[in-house]
């Protein structure tokens, strides 16, 4: 009987490391087409509309940037946290709280004008996200409570907070009973950077965030600390890096970035707080971070790929009537293939015969 055996590589394969995300995307397209055809959809059409059309239709390019921006910002934060082995999966909640904090500033300054309002909203959003991320960090470092569960539970709580605020205290007095806040005043709106398009200032901010994060992660002691605590906690302690401090930093940074994305979204595309504000960017950014190999520059690639599927999903919805939930299936498949491919980065697969096995 033929058997397969894993053999650890002496050095992780660079080619596999950067090749697997691309292979994962390609495999998702192929297997997705087959799978969707098997369950009765137009599989080839779905793949074409979701993965190809967003590129060929130049009008959709601006959508790509707008969708990719929050994914990249949140994904960069998560890539830093996951590097340190800190599992913040509540970015969606930190994104929501960031949006709410920015909304709070926008509503409080509704009668005022001034250039400072938008920066203040953004700062409030980052502070809100960081504070919301501080709760799981506090519980983990002080009491050893699993951060995966707490950060996730707090996400559900944050969504209820939106519902409450837009239903009661923050409700638009002129909104004809709709549960939403009033539209922000002009100084509280994120400016467009390309006239005649929907491309807002969040897009260049996302690129800047990724570049700064890449520099910090690869060159600074902070980045070194995140990497060493994640790779070898025992060695990190020997090198003088505290694990608790790292957990705090990871949550504060990833929370602040999720909050930043929330503030930019509410002041940009949404222009007001609505119950539909939680758009799963925080969860999808988990896939973005992995597709980007937990590397801030890779996250730009990951964010763009996922943005393509979002935009393509919307196209497929109107052109071939495919539910936009198909997007989620494609995104999850990408992550599955990527995780499966991870094995090939650190191991090679050897075929062995049972005798060879016995000798070894």
């Amino acid at each position: 009987m033929m058997q397969f055996r894993l053999e650890k590589r002496r050095e992780p394969s660079k080619a596999m490391l950067y090749g697997t995300p691309i292979v994962a995307v390609l495999l998702t397209m192929i297997v997705g087409a087959i799978l969707f055809s098997l369950i009765g959809f137009d599989g080839v059409g779905a793949v074409r509309e979701i993965f190809i059309t967003p590129f060929t239709n130049t009008y959709k390019w601006q959508d790509l940037g707008v969708k990719a921006a929050p994914l990249i910002i949140i994904g960069v934060g998560l890539s830093i946290a996951y590097r340190a082995n800190v599992w913040n999966i509540g970015a969606e909640g930190q994104y929501v709280v960031g949006g709410l904090a920015a909304t709070g500033v926008a509503l409080a300054t509704y009668q005022m004008t001034g250039w400072w309002i938008l920066p203040l909203m953004i700062l409030a959003g980052m502070a809100g996200g960081a504070l919301y991320g501080a709760i799981p960090a506090l519980l983990r470092t002080r009491l050893g409570v699993n951060e995966i569960l707490t950060s996730l539970m707090l996400t559900y709580v944050s969504v209820q907070a939106i519902y409450y605020l837009v239903r009661a205290p923050w409700k638009d007095p002129m909104g004809m009973g709709f549960p939403q806040t009033r539209r922000f005043a002009a100084d509280a709106l994120l400016p467009n950077i390309l006239p005649g398009t929907i491309v807002h200032a969040g897009v260049p901010i996302a690129i800047i965030v990724a570049l700064v994060a890449w520099f910090v992660m690869s060159r600074s002691v902070f980045g070194y600390q995140m990497r060493v605590v994640g790779a070898a906690p025992h060695a990190a302690r020997y090198g003088g890096f505290s694990e608790n401090r790292t957990i705090w930093l990871a949550f504060l940074v990833s929370g602040a970035l999720a909050g930043l994305a929330g503030a930019l979204e509410v002041s940009g595309p949404f222009q007001r707080m609505v119950p539909g504000f939680p758009t799963n960017y925080g969860f999808t950014a988990i896939i973005v971070a992995f597709l980007g190999r937990l590397d801030p520059l890779g996250v730009i690639f990951g964010g763009l790929v996922i943005a393509v599927t979002f935009v393509g999903g919307e196209i497929a919805q109107t052109s071939i009537g495919l539910s936009n939930s198909a997007t989620g299936v494609f995104q999850a498949m990408m992550l599955f293939f990527l995780l499966a491919g991870d094995l090939l980065v650190r191991y090679r697969i050897r075929r062995v015969t049972p005798q060879a096995e016995a000798r070894a």
């Binding site: 002496r10 025992h234 020997y238």
Partner: protein
């Protein structure tokens, strides 16, 4: 506990019947334990008893035990011996492997002495003294290292007084009131059997375990007992733990990045929060060259190096920082003879340049060749340090086995 035993049995036995058999064996041999307790709540000695009960249930003809008392208290050892004598009287053969000579004397009918995998002698331990067996065990024909004549030591550099740690887990052996002094230019060797508190001692000295008494550890009179590892390094104390991959070095990182782990402050690799990659690379290159590390270059992954080469790199990384105090554990464990010689030479040279060095090792030959003074750690306690010339191998062997000087004489 009942379950643990059941898992090791070959056939399925109803748990009631198994329990009855366990109780019978326990009563017969005086091994008293409640079969329903969770193993994690038992002391190491009690766990050892489970192993013995498990073995006895299988009604063996030959029982092999390897260092069974290394984790037992003296009282537990006495209990174990009673059981073993009873077993032997019932006709079971027992092969008992131990380095503790007084146990062999107390228990065994014949003794075979091995050294370096070779048979040295077979004797009747009742006829021999512990001293005579220790001599056979360690060998007397050891070649002493040639050191510079008339070496003088400077003033006390590292002073440790009443250093203790807290027990951190079931298997942790804490250090208990350890005191010693190392002068400038002096190498202090700490001998001992594995698991007698060496790890806790290294962590307490390196700062991975932070103490609550500032004056428990001083360098040149400066109390560093409450500092963390980074602050201690800044004040001249470097350390090398026993485990290379994952503790002293990060396998997934390049050698250059591994240099940043411990050398970043002493060698100015950090400027305003940013790492100077060039400095790290240059330093790593120097370590590779000076210590003849076989690696492609500073960019090689630490995990891709062989054990000996990684150890040379780690030792080089610390020694080239010119620490005023260096604490190392098992500096040549699993390292080939050539690399070991190079590491030894580097340590001697560092001491000659005026550093105080502590070498924790289980290799007596190494310690005798390297050290100026020698102390023995046993159950977390350290014997008084004595000049290595004045301590006989017999004494070391006895101290390692827990027999203190006064009693042995």
């Amino acid at each position: 506990m009942l379950e643990n035993i059941a898992l090791g049995m070959d056939s399925k036995i109803p748990s009631r019947e198994l329990e009855a058999r366990i109780r019978a064996v326990m009563n017969q041999y005086g091994l008293l334990l409640d079969p329903h307790r969770t193993v994690a709540t038992l002391s190491v000695g009690e766990r050892q008893r489970i192993e013995i009960v498990r073995a006895l249930l299988l009604e063996p003809q030959l029982l092999i035990m390897d260092e069974p008392t290394s984790v037992l208290t003296p009282q537990e050892v006495e209990q174990l011996f009673t059981v073993l004598r009873k077993l032997a009287a019932e006709g079971c053969s027992i092969l008992y492997i131990s380095h503790k000579l007084h146990e062999i004397k107390a228990l065994c009918d014949t003794a075979t002495i091995l050294r370096g995998g070779k048979l040295v002698d077979t004797c009747d331990p009742k006829q021999e003294t512990s001293r005579s067996m220790a001599e056979k065990m360690i060998g007397t024909g050891l070649k002493d290292i040639v050191k510079a004549e008339g070496r003088t030591f400077g003033p006390p550099k590292l002073v440790v007084s009443q250093l203790s740690t807290v027990k951190a887990g079931h298997f942790d052996v804490p250090v208990d009131g350890v005191s010693f002094t190392v002068r400038a230019g002096e190498i202090l060797g700490i001998a001992g059997v594995a698991g007698n508190g060496q790890n806790a001692l290294l962590d307490a000295l390196s700062g991975e375990i932070r103490g609550d008494d500032r004056e428990a550890i001083t360098i040149d009179g400066l109390g560093i007992g409450m500092m963390d590892t980074t602050e201690r390094r800044r004040n001249g104390l470097c350390a090398v733990p026993e485990e290379r991959n994952g503790h002293a070095a990060v396998g997934e990182f390049s050698l250059s990045d591994n240099s940043v782990l411990t050398a970043r402050d002493r060698l100015g690799m950090v400027v305003m929060g940013l790492i100077n990659g060039g400095a790290a690379k240059t330093y790593t290159g120097k370590v590779i060259a000076d210590f003849a590390v076989k690696a492609l270059g500073p960019g090689s992954m630490a995990g891709s190096l062989s054990g000996g080469n990684l150890q040379k790199y780690i030792m080089g990384r610390e020694i080239l920082q010119k620490p005023s105090v260096l604490v190392v554990s098992q500096p040549t464990w699993g390292v080939d003879a050539g690399a070991a010689a190079a590491i030894h030479q580097a340590l001697v040279d560092l001491a000659a340049a005026g550093s105080a060095i502590v070498v924790i090792s289980q290799d007596l030959d190494e310690l005798r060749a390297l050290s100026d003074t020698l102390a023995v750690i046993n159950m977390g306690r350290l014997s008084p340090a004595r000049p290595v010339k004045d301590v006989s191998v017999e004494e070391i062997g006895l101290l390692m086995g827990g027999v203190h000087g006064a009693e042995a004489a």
